[in-house]
Symmetry: C2
Subunit: 156 residues, 2 copies
């Protein structure tokens, strides 16, 4: 796809803040580059009883990064569709005692965004598998995810 | 295990509310019966852009239910240990437009809590695999999870 516009990224930021449980994470759309969407969140609203990032917050920020990237693709394709997460898997690799820096991208095993959008056009729904991770300040993955998203055209 | 006391359930409620991202879900420890811990949360703080329960909240409430049950077991065994989620898998089966009713239990494939506690005592750490689900008002599973938790004895 062509890179999403600054306007599209700002619209995504507004969508995130409009959902109370997403807003609670205090996510910031950081940018899009080379097929990857980056979301950041501060540690303070996402800290657990051990002073590190809460597993649920790590899962949520990665889920939102994949959801956001899928939403950007759907909109860039000119579609009006709802995007749902269908299933997801997470591995928590190391405690994170810093801000949450997440990124998501289309899984290389998948068919590519062009096929996803062609399927959405022809069938009214399409699935995409996205990978995501959260990085430590030194660039090490502290959590990783794989999740499938479904887009369904709005009929109304 | 013997059923956790009302005091243990109240202490768990306090632990949940002490974590900002967990508190944001507004979870309520509902009770423990027949090996299952139940947590509830209202829809309003957990709603997504489609008026249904946010995937991240469903994942978090199930993760917390499993974490809470493991914490109760560790404490009932007389141990002082940190409990972490190591990995988790989620399936989202149907939209939920109602309060989140989650329950977690020890996966039948596992070795049982007695073995878990014996391992924690002898090795200083132990793993348990828990299942969880979120139920609709009619008792149908709208989301399900499997997650592994690690307990590590505190040395200080």
């Amino acid at each position: 796809m062509t890179d999403p516009s600054e306007q599209a990224l700002q619209a995504l930021q507004s969508k995130l803040l409009a959902m109370p449980p997403a807003r609670a994470l205090q996510p910031q759309v950081q940018g899009y580059a080379q097929g990857r969407l980056s979301l950041h969140a501060p540690l303070a609203p996402n800290v657990n009883d051990k002073g590190s990032a809460f597993g649920g917050s790590l899962a949520s920020i990665m889920t939102l990064a994949g959801w956001g990237l899928t939403v950007l693709q759907v909109e860039a394709g000119g579609f009006d569709a709802d995007v749902y997460v269908a299933d997801s898997q997470f591995r928590y690799l190391a405690p994170l005692r810093d801000a949450l820096h997440a990124e998501a991208w289309l899984d290389a095993e998948g068919d590519g965004w062009a096929v996803f959008l062609a399927t959405l056009r022809s069938r009214g729904r399409a699935r995409a598998t996205l990978a995501a991770r959260v990085l430590s300040p030194s660039g090490e993955a502290v959590a990783q995810a794989s999740a499938r998203y479904v887009a369904i055209l709005r009929r109304d």
